[in-house]
Amino acid sequence: MLNLQAGPDPRQRTPMLFDTPIYILFLGIVVAAYWRLGFRSQNRFLLAASYLFYGWWDWRFLLLMIGSTVIDYFIAIRIAEAEDPKVRKSLLALSLVINFSILGFFKYFNFFADSLGHVLAGVGIKASLPVLLIILPPGISFYTFQEVAYIVDVYSGKLPASRNFLDYGLFISLFPHLIAGPIQRPAHLLPQVQKPRHWDSAKAFDGLLLIMEGLFRKCVIADNCALIANAAFGGAFGKPSLIVTLLGMYAFAWQIYGDFSGYSDIARGSAQLLGFHFMVNFRQPYFADSIQDFWRRWHVSLSTWLRDYLYIPLGGNRKGEANTYRNLLLTMLLGGLWHGANWTFVIWGGQHGASLAVERKLTRGKEIISGKARKVLKQILIFHLVCVSWVFFRAQSLRAAWEMLQGLGRWSWRPEFPAAFLFLAVFSIPLLMLDIYLERSGAEYCFEYTPVRRRVAFGLACAVIIALMGANQANAFIYFQF
């Protein structure tokens, strides 16, 4: 009998992943020690624990993060103290340049150098541009956005600058959100860091259940769906054809949803065990009945960040129709590029931006179709539009994405296909059912509004299912690379 996963790919280095024994041990020790300390000591201890969590991957990049934190801490204070608007604006610009330069260097240097090389080659200029061996520090996209949000909020007077480096450092580096979000709003998290926190059994109980549900989403749903997605996109089922492409699209749709929503649940649950509250990051996105609705439900912490710090400053919908479409497209293109330095992500973002613009043009805020059955049809349509966009997100290159989509027009058959669809159904239907329950109940996790005994039973059932069906850590959290 074949094992489905070999050991870890030695080419990949992983941070302290939430679904590993070391994280469970780390979290247990931190929670146990943390609640024995007084408020200030709690913050000091958590900052040290968060730095240990980050440095576990590579301590050199811890220095980069600390450096970036220190710079923004002092710039924010200077912005708050400065009265001259020009000085304030210059300081804001300085912070943005520093933050985006660091992000740009680590994440996009090779991408732009490579793309420029291709453009120059296209016009007949042979240029040997430098390609550096740059390692992408985990979480850099997330903590950079959080720092930028803080600086912008201080500049616009929405938030006073923190005068305590310990508090600010903890706000940036609090370990549950450090590597892959949810991107916390300064006005939401910073006050929580600055005020004493007290043990609350109800919050901790909710937190533990969120962690269990998150592990179920990640280890059972995402990691199993990943096997089909990897096989379809990796060519194990042969050349892309209608069935291969559908298998790959559907499998990846459930993989990425289970993966990232599971990660977010574990992050939120871990934070709650420490007395913090993180914003909800996913609200049953595959029940969206429009692309706009999808972005109100998918990666909410990013979509609201893009709205508040990019789309609205660009003018939002206040400067006429044409500018609104431009702003939508630009916001989503940059949102796509944020996910990774590859044209596939740009196309993915562009597809969403264009869909938002077309949708706006067609509906202009009105319902084109109404009625329950029609709503379901719209949901199915939007789900498939999103699935098509996932092909660009998942494929290694534009050519591979295009070949995958071309497969929709080809037919092939293998005896393993029925088993593959059944396998996918076994792992995607439970998440669909869970989402139906959450959508109807308005709960943030399964059975939230039910008696404690039932919730205990749910948590234990999750544990048994994870023990029986959980895949191993061969598939690291997708968003850790962003």
Binding site: M1, L2, N3, L4, Q5, A6, G7, P8, D9, P10, Q12, T14, M16, L17, T20, P21, I22, W57, S201, A202, K203, A204, F205, D206, L208, I228, N230, A231, A236, F237, Q272, H277, R414, P415, E416, P418, A419, A420, F423, V426, G442, E448, Y449, T450, P451, V452, R453, R454, R455, V456, G459, A463, A467, L468, M469, G470, A471, N472, Q473, A474
Partner: protein, 311 residues
């Protein structure tokens, strides 16, 4: 968390719920820790076979009770499907006692550390014949947690980290898995459940399993052999056990002749009982593993090779 629209009526408070949930999780973990080896040994023929073969391998001494030299055949599915154990035993019965230890999807590092542990813990076969394809000799993959539990000794963890270039997270998982039955068994547990849930799952698993990337570059293959065959030679010297590398038949060029030359230089015999491309495709089940007819012929060649006095 937002305030609930419905009353959370229960005889239990959240505090009680928290405590019961934590206690329940610990109990579930303990149940899987203690129960998984017992249950798997009964449910899975493969687990049962491997455990039996491991016990037999640990008990090996240079000679059997009746004085015959012992031979341990170690390897993966290429060995399991390429060599008919009963036939080999019959052919060699008067002169040798043959024992097999076959674990599917294993590569060089699984076996380097597996043999180290076996020898560290007292096993002393007369000869070890390690069956690996040339790309498996060069591979940096292992069987993951299962490897850490079954084949890696605790004291070899630093060496395993170095050889596999493990990051801290994976290294820590290996450490936990070394001591944990459940972490090691969970992959097999999941397969058993999936076999029950998904008809024709075995065929699907063959398609979607992660085999790791195949290595074809002769520079890499020979380069890795130059690193690794001396490790086997060192192991051989340290424990006074002869170790032979046997390269199973391959349809295409696998550069085994070059690796054989490396073996001559470092003192590890490399057996090529069928040069690459010699066996036609009709002797393979899937282009990689031999079928019944192929394995019958290959087993005879292996028996003949073992009987040769020269090696």
């Amino acid at each position: 968390m937002s305030s609930p629209p419905l009353a959370k009526e229960s005889g239990w408070s959240a505090r009680t719920g928290f405590i019961v949930l934590v206690a329940g999780l610990v109990l579930i973990l303990l149940a899987f820790e203690l129960g998984s080896p017992l249950v798997l040994d009964r449910l899975s023929h493969t687990e049962s076979r491997v455990n039996g073969e491991l016990r037999a391998a640990y008990a090996l001494r240079p000679s059997s009770a009746d004085g015959r030299p012992t031979v341990l055949l170690a390897g993966n599915s290429l060995l399991l499907e390429g060599v008919q154990l009963d036939k080999l035993r019959d052919e060699l019965a008067p002169q040798f006692e043959v024992t097999r230890l076959g674990i599917e999807q294993t590569h060089y590092l699984d076996w380097y550390f597996g043999l180290r542990r076996l020898l560290q813990e007292g096993a002393r076969p007369g000869v070890i014949v390690l069956a690996l394809g040339t790309d498996q000799l060069a591979s940096k993959f292992t069987l993951g947690e299962e490897f850490a539990h079954r084949q890696m000794s605790a004291r070899d963890l630093p060496l395993a980290i170095q050889e596999s270039n493990l990051d801290r997270t994976t290294a820590s998982t290996y450490l936990f898995a070394h001591w944990s039955n459940w972490l090691a068994d969970k992959g097999v547990i999941r397969q058993r459940v999936l076999i029950l849930l998904v008809p024709n799952f075995r065929a699907l698993a063959g398609r979607i399993a992660d085999h790791g990337a195949h290595i074809h570059d002769p520079g890499v293959l020979v380069g890795m052999a130059k690193q690794r065959l001396p490790q086997l030679a060192e192991l051989s010297r340290t424990y006074g056990v002869k170790i032979v590398l046997m390269v199973p038949p391959a349809l295409r060029e696998d550069y085994s002749r070059d690796i054989q030359q490396v073996g001559v230089e470092v003192g590890v015999p490399v057996w090529i009982l069928s040069p690459p491309g010699e066996y036609p495709r009709s002797l393979y089940r899937d282009g990689y593993h031999l079928n019944e007819q192929g394995s019958t012929d290959f087993t005879s060649r292996l028996a003949e090779q073992i009987r040769k006095p020269s090696w």
